[in-house]
């Protein structure tokens, strides 16, 4: 908001205003970057302090995988049937669709669009619904 207001104050010189907006954009994300730096520092300090505070007395028994309290049998990276893979396929399909929702959502009710975009929206939702119904009918949403 403040960026827009100050961009106006620059005085309607289009190029300058654009440059100013871009500067605001980079400013916003550089602050986000700084937060990330603060976070990494916080974790680093916590780990370093923990290193100084805690005892280190390893024994062979202690270094065993805990698992459920009983000595582990076989390898930790056990083979398991990952039944969720179908969901991940579904998710990828739908999530890619859903991303297009956001740019569209900001303009769809703008003057001059109205009914057209509403029809488009129902086509979009229709696609998603048919896909979901198909998956449902195929039985991939149930386990047994």
């Amino acid at each position: 908001m403040a960026t827009v207001a100050s961009a106006d104050a620059v005085g309607g010189v289009r190029g300058a205003a654009d440059a100013y907006l871009a500067a605001g954009y980079y400013h916003a994300y550089s602050v986000v970057g700084l937060v990330a730096v603060v976070g990494v520092l916080f974790v680093a300090v916590a780990f370093a302090a923990g290193h100084l505070l805690r005892p280190v007395v390893p024994t062979r028994e202690k270094m065993l995988t805990y698992e459920c309290g009983v000595d582990p049998v076989g390898e930790g990276w056990a083979q398991t049937q990952i039944r969720y893979y179908v969901y991940s396929f579904l998710y990828v399909i739908f999530a890619v669709d859903a991303i297009y929702l956001f740019p569209w959502a900001t303009v769809f009710a703008a003057p001059g669009f109205g009914g057209t975009t509403l029809v488009e929206m129902f086509v979009f939702i229709g696609f998603l619904a048919v896909g979901l119904l198909y998956a449902w009918k195929k039985g991939v949403l149930e386990w047994t």
Partner: protein
């Protein structure tokens, strides 16, 4: 120079909120759960109703030995808690607290940013589950991944509905555009968003990734001391972030009587009420089974989310 000072102040404020609010929620959970179950909860630490219990817990965690199992993938195992914690810190900076720019940093694509970054936290659990070299941890990690897959989509759809209503994806912009009748209008979306958020945070009744009666403690089984504490902190920071986001998107954020001077208080009060509901749900509902969870997401929440988008679209075009 005042610009630099301003940024530093914002960073400090976000870090303080990030470290204090989760502890407040955690302590509230201790006390609220206890009273709902006819107990007193912590009473000793700090003297007054055990207010310092979590501080004492923190001191205890910091002194505990940090055990990395010999069979584990050491580096990944050690990094996992940080990966699961830091995204919530990043999200906090984008959440508007009050009117007139009372926000860590206004980001143009705030809604998009927030949803994208929140999803990263789950990677920490997957890393922990894989690196532990523990069968139960692996199962827990996979369940976490599956849960994210199932619940990210309804969350996106519900958030998309709000973006349609407001005509912007900037978080302060969305609160700015809010009117009281949005609450009934976006009610379904709000419920879908909150439920999906609970599932993403692995809070009961959606806590199968850490189901103690099935898989010990899921991805966190092998963790001790400080790293375990960071995972717990991530869970409670997640509650704060989810409740704050639900407040901002569906409950009008800072709107309320006297919002000009007390807007920030309204945001905090609404967030606190939602956090109370999160705790209440934990005490009330039993855990769902893993397949029931997937079924709920794909056959109930996603259709509801699509219906909300249709409703939002029609109403918005009719009134504009």
């Amino acid at each position: 120079m005042s610009g630099t000072l301003d940024v530093v102040l914002r960073l400090v404020a976000v870090l303080v909120a990030f470290l204090v609010l989760p502890l407040v929620v955690g302590q509230t959970e201790h006390k609220v759960m206890a009273h709902m179950q006819g107990r007193l909860g912590p009473m000793y630490a700090g003297g007054f109703h055990g207010w310092a219990q979590l501080v004492a817990d923190g001191v205890k965690f910091a002194q505990k030995e940090d055990v990395v199992p010999a069979g584990a993938d050491r580096r990944v195992f050690q990094l996992a808690p940080a990966v699961s914690l830091l995204p919530y810190l990043l999200v906090l900076i984008a959440i508007p607290v009050g009117p007139n720019g009372l926000v860590g940093q206004a980001i143009d694509a705030g809604l998009f940013f927030v949803l994208a970054v929140m999803g990263v936290g789950v990677l920490g659990s997957i890393m922990a589950g894989w690196a532990s070299a523990n069968k139960f941890s692996l199962l827990g990690g996979l369940r976490t991944a599956a849960q994210l897959m199932a619940y990210e989509l309804p969350m996106l759809l519900a958030a998309g509905s709000v973006a349609m209503a407001a005509g912007t994806i900037s978080l302060p912009g969305i609160v700015q555009a809010f009117h009281w009748w949005w609450i009934p209008w976006q009610l379904i979306g709000g419920l879908v968003f909150f439920t999906a958020g609970l599932a993403e945070l692995q809070r009961p009744p959606f806590d199968m990734p850490v189901a103690d009666s099935e898989i010990i403690f899921g991805a966190y089984t092998e963790y001790t001391g400080l790293r375990f504490a960071l995972f717990l902190l991530a869970e409670y920071a997640g509650i704060v972030v989810l409740c704050a986001l639900t407040t901002v998107l569906f409950l009008g954020g800072w709107h309320g009587p006297l919002s000009g001077s007390f807007g920030w208080l309204w945001t905090l009060v609404k967030t606190a009420l939602l956090a109370f509901v999160v705790i209440w749900l934990r005490v009330t509902y039993p855990r769902l089974r893993e397949d029931q969870l997937q079924k709920l997401a794909w056959t109930v929440l996603i259709p509801l989310g699509l219906a909300q988008i249709a409703l939002t679209g029609i109403v918005k075009v009719v009134i504009s």
